[in-house]
């Protein structure tokens, strides 16, 4: 994959080392999961004599996006990566289905109800003839009242939504009717 360029910089870190470095970069607002767990790192490749890290935004206006880019840059420098650039990749659009399975448990332990797996079908990049098209035919509306969200503290499913939005763009506010605690729900997106 990178053999053509490997002789140019003999001692540069390999792709596995870069993924390891990225896996240690926490989400700035949810520090128990990394940017890799979150599914926003869409590619690491050697291109034109530098590493290109492709990152996709979660929500268009998420203020953490710029912080994340800065954190990634610092982590790569610390890992000895001299030449890299961070590229934004918009399609296919990020979905919570890309959050790593073990990260869902860490979210719950942290007090945030994780999004159900496979609850939202994202847009896909499809090929039609020579040009690739974005296929949104499988995208469906998420109905919040249909969700059965277990309380991350007591596991009760007697919970209800307080607001469709929460402390960050990716969360909604819920309340448990058994333990009476409010909690964040990571919205399927």
């Amino acid at each position: 994959m990178v053999s053509s360029a490997s002789s140019a910089v003999a001692d540069r870190p390999g792709v596995a080392a870069i993924w390891r470095a990225l896996a240690a970069v926490p989400d700035p607002e949810i520090p128990v999961i990394s940017v890799v767990d979150l599914g926003i790192i869409r590619g690491v490749e050697w291109r034109d004599e530098e590493w290109v890290i492709s990152v996709t935004p979660t929500y268009s206006g998420c203020p953490a996006t710029e912080v994340i880019a800065g954190d990634i840059g610092r982590a790569l420098v610390a890992a000895g990566v001299a030449r890299f650039r961070i590229e934004t990749r918009l399609a296919p659009a990020w979905t919570t289905d890309w959050i790593a399975p073990d990260a869902r448990q860490r979210l719950a332990d942290y007090g945030i109800a994780p999004p159900g797996a496979g609850t939202v079908v994202s847009s896909q990049i499809g090929q039609t003839g020579q040009t690739s098209r974005i296929d949104i035919s499988a995208l469906h509306r998420y109905r919040s009242e249909a969700a059965n969200v277990p309380c991350p503290r007591c596991n009760s499913t007697r919970t209800r939504q307080q607001s469709r939005y929460g402390s960050t763009p990716c969360k909604a506010q819920y309340r448990c009717d058994d333990c009476l605690e409010p909690f964040d729900y990571f919205k399927p997106h």
Binding site: S123, L139, Y142, S163, S167, P169, H189
Partner: protein, 259 residues
């Protein structure tokens, strides 16, 4: 064949409606009727602001490749902060004042239903960048549309007072909805090439959805035929200037200031 100038105007329309509505929603910070709604409104605004930035970034690239340009188009900040009112291409609906909570809800509902339909079309645009931004924004806007419809129903089918206010909001803003479906030469030239959506064709689906929600909300669908126009061509209501005065004041006093 559509020109780069038409593409630039079109992308700026998308960017400006998002930006101006985001600014309006931002005015609710600290003033929401309940904390949860304060947060919800500003989160919707944040999504729209993020979408506006994606459109502005693309507008800058389109401007940069125009014949006779120096190669660099304007930046996101230059588009947002350094244009006069007449340079803005947003829908008149987006700049209407917040009013009471029902007015804000009516404005958002009309906009969200249209926005979702528009983005569904743009997600299959032949312009790859437009398609990518639209497919991204669509996921956020589907959620907005669900929320604003719920509030129309809740307030319309609520107390006597909330019903009266919701009906007023729906009635008062009706005349700003026609512009969303009125295609001009720019729309038509780009739609003919599969780059832009055929906005006129979105109207039946919009009316069906609005009528269904108003019915559930026990509200009456307005029937007035006369519609305001001009936002997409830069002819605005008196409200835009006041909004820009607040939004742009810092960059006007200190051009190029950075956080």
């Amino acid at each position: 064949m559509a020109s780069d100038q038409q593409l630039l105007d079109y992308v700026l329309r998308l960017a400006d409606s998002d930006l101006i509505l985001a600014q309006r929603l931002g005015e609710w910070v600290g003033h929401g009727p309940v904390l949860e709604e304060d947060i919800a409104l500003t989160n919707v605004g944040l999504d729209l602001l993020g979408q506006a930035r994606l459109w502005f970034a693309y507008a800058g690239e389109v401007e940069g490749r125009q014949v006779g340009s120096s190669g660099a188009g304007r930046s996101e900040d230059e588009f947002a902060y350094m244009r006069e009112g007449g340079g803005f291409r947003n829908l008149l609906l987006a700049e209407q004042p917040n009013g009471n909570y029902a007015d804000t809800t009516a404005r958002q509902f009309y906009f969200d239903v249209w926005h979702e339909l528009l983005l569904r079309n743009l997600a299959v645009s032949r312009d790859r960048r437009i398609a990518e931004i639209a497919a991204k924004a669509l996921k956020e806007v589907m959620y907005h549309a669900e929320r604003s419809a719920d509030w129309v129903i809740r307030l319309g089918d609520g107390t006597e007072l909330s019903h009266t206010r919701m009906q007023s909001g729906i009635d008062d803003l009706w005349m700003y909805t026609g512009e969303m479906f009125a295609a001009d030469d720019t729309d038509l030239a780009l739609a003919a090439e599969g780059v832009a959506a055929d906005v006129g064709a979105l109207l039946p689906a919009w009316r069906d959805r609005v009528a269904a929600v108003l019915d559930l909300a026990t509200l009456t669908m307005p029937s007035a035929a006369w519609m305001q126009r001009g936002g997409k061509q830069g002819v605005h209501s008196e409200h835009l200037g006041h909004l820009l005065a607040e939004m742009q004041s810092l960059q006007r006093a200190h051009p190029g200031a950075q956080w």
